[in-house]
């Protein structure tokens, strides 16, 4: 039993993206049209610099942030290192720029409130101020 627990711990330590199973991510936006809902692919495209049917601008949390790790795992479906190498290629070929990074969840909420069209991700359960709406949820 002890061996299995050790192995399980080791597995969890080595693959942090597999640890994210239990937490729910919400994608929150400051939009005048409160009916906007996105699917996972659209949110992924938005965060990889793709084209959207709406005029939205993604903001992200820093690489070491726990919510970001879960978002990468559940929505983008790539490891942090792959995301970083993708943006390095985009930046130095002058194609696209990575989403602006905001230092923590509190600051994300503040930024969203002050910038129309801004989109950020947070953990479910975070109190959402008036004026912002949830456009995507993933368990």
């Amino acid at each position: 039993m002890k061996v299995y627990s050790t192995l399980l711990l080791l597995f969890a330590f080595c693959c942090p993206h597999h640890m994210a199973a239990a937490e729910t991510i919400i994608v929150v936006a400051n939009t005048s049209d409160k009916s906007i809902k996105l699917n996972r692919q659209q949110v992924r495209n938005l965060y990889m610099g793709g084209i959207m049917p709406y005029d939205l601008k993604a903001i992200a949390l820093p690489p070491e942030n726990h919510t970001r790790v879960i978002f990468n795992t559940k929505v983008v479906g790539l490891t942090e290192s792959r995301i970083q190498s993708y943006w390095a290629q985009m930046r130095f070929t002058g194609r696209k720029k990575a989403p602006k990074e905001i230092k923590n969840e509190m600051s994300v909420l503040e930024y969203l409130q002050n910038h129309e069209g801004a989109v950020g991700y947070l953990l479910a359960g975070t109190p959402i101020p008036d004026g912002l709406s949830v456009i995507y949820t993933v368990r």
Binding site: H17, S81, A88, F92, T93, G94
Partner: protein, 400 residues
């Protein structure tokens, strides 16, 4: 070697320091300064050969480099970007790699005017940004085949979404006028009417890309030109024609990549067709698979190149006059100097993303050259090479 590395890094840091006060003087959003660096050590286990410039001694001056990029935003739509790269490899010209004005009237459309990298293949425009790809050295049998990397001209990129597919169209037009290096020899080369277009489709974890590129190449080969004239005077027009280094070159490329949290699969295949006899036709491909064990990545790759010339048999009769015999011998010698080149490369390696912007890599490449080795490309026979060698490499990649 150490001195050259040190000079390069000092020059670049000096440049960085000179620009830094300007950076602070501007608002953060107007001027953006960034860069990339790689320090790569390599050792080839065969004393009779060279591969990607590495020989039988530990060397850091083949692929190590430092690049600096400055972007100035005039407004949301208009910006100017410059990128300088200092190479330790003396077969690469250090200096300005990119300098362009970019106009983006919307998220969907971007137009760039100026000096840019040619987007032949997936990584052609980011060859030097090692941080951007998993391998330590790109599959050489594939990436060794694009001889000129920059162009001066215009590039337009348009992307749109269709049922969750991201579709991207890109086209460019311009010219190349610089030196290329073959067999450690500098050759003045001009490519006019250089244009290409590519399209890529991305859906979920899958991305596909196809590209077509062409250019009218003019390679300065004075000896070949004079000899060709001589052959023509003697009436051997067919052989004279073959000695032409000029003409249309066409590149075709296809790629398919798949990646998720745990695995990746990357592949590219290309074909280059040329009109000029002295420019080879090339077929090449690579396929690579990797396993992510964050923050580590392990990968294997296989790549292959088949470069061949359409050698025309000599039409010069032998034993008629000493002059004709001499001409025939010279023709045979010239043909011999434009040898076919077939090689394969098998890689196994790992990448460790230590920090979000720093990665360490270790890689072993087993290279196998078949038949003759032209010495014009990554593999060089220093005499007595049996066609097999192993390259060991360690490196650090940094973006800032």
């Amino acid at each position: 070697m150490t001195r050259r590395l040190s000079t390069l890094f000092h020059t670049c840091w000096l440049l960085l320091l000179c620009v830094a006060p300007t950076l602070h003087a501007e608002t953060e959003d107007k001027l953006q300064l960034s860069g990339f660096a790689r320090v790569i050590l390599g050792y080839l286990d065969d004393e009779n050969a060279e591969y990607v410039g590495y020989d039988n001694s530990i060397s850091a001056n083949q692929q190590s480099l430092l690049g600096l990029q400055a972007e100035y935003l005039f407004n949301d739509e208009l910006s100017v970007t410059g990128q300088v790269v200092g190479f330790t490899d003396d077969q690469r010209n250090s200096g300005l790699e990119w300098l362009y004005i970019s106009y983006s009237p919307s998220n969907a459309l971007q137009i760039k005017l100026g000096r840019q990298r040619i987007p032949f293949f997936n990584y052609s425009d980011s060859l030097d940004v090692g941080f951007a790809y998993p391998w330590l050295t790109l599959p050489q049998q594939f990436y060794d085949t694009a001889f000129f990397s920059t162009f001066d001209g215009v590039l337009a990129n348009y992307q749109f979404a269709l049922n969750d597919w991201q579709i991207n169209y890109e086209g460019y037009w311009g010219r190349f006028d610089d030196k290329i290096y073959l067999a450690s020899e500098e050759i003045n080369t001009q490519v006019i009417g250089l244009f290409g277009f590519n399209t890529s489709f991305a859906y979920k974890n899958l991305s596909l890309r196809a590209s077509y590129n062409q250019g009218d190449v003019n390679i300065e080969q004075e000896e070949a030109r004079l000899f060709s004239q001589q052959l023509r005077q003697f009436g051997f027009a067919n052989n004279a024609e073959w000695l032409d280094a000029n003409g249309l070159i066409q590149f075709y490329q296809l790629s398919a990549n798949y990646e998720n949290l745990d695995y990746f699969l990357r592949s590219e295949v290309s074909k280059m067709v040329s009109d000029g006899g002295l420019v080879a036709d090339i077929e090449s491909f690579y396929i690579s698979a990797g396993y992510n064990f964050y923050p580590y990545t392990f990968y294997i790759s296989y790549s292959q190149k088949d470069l061949h010339f359409d050698h025309r048999p000599s039409e010069i009769p032998l034993g008629v006059t000493p002059e004709l015999d001499f001409l025939a011998a010279t023709y045979a010698d010239v043909i011999g100097r434009f040898a076919d080149d077939k090689a394969t490369g098998i890689k196994i390696g790992s990448r460790w993303d230590w920090q979000p912007n720093i990665a360490f890599k270790a890689e072993m490449t087993f290279v196998e050259a078949q038949d003759e080795i032209s010495n014009d490309y990554a593999v060089k026979d220093l005499g007595g090479f049996d066609g097999h060698a192993m390259l060991y490499q360690l490196g650090v990649e940094w973006v800032f």
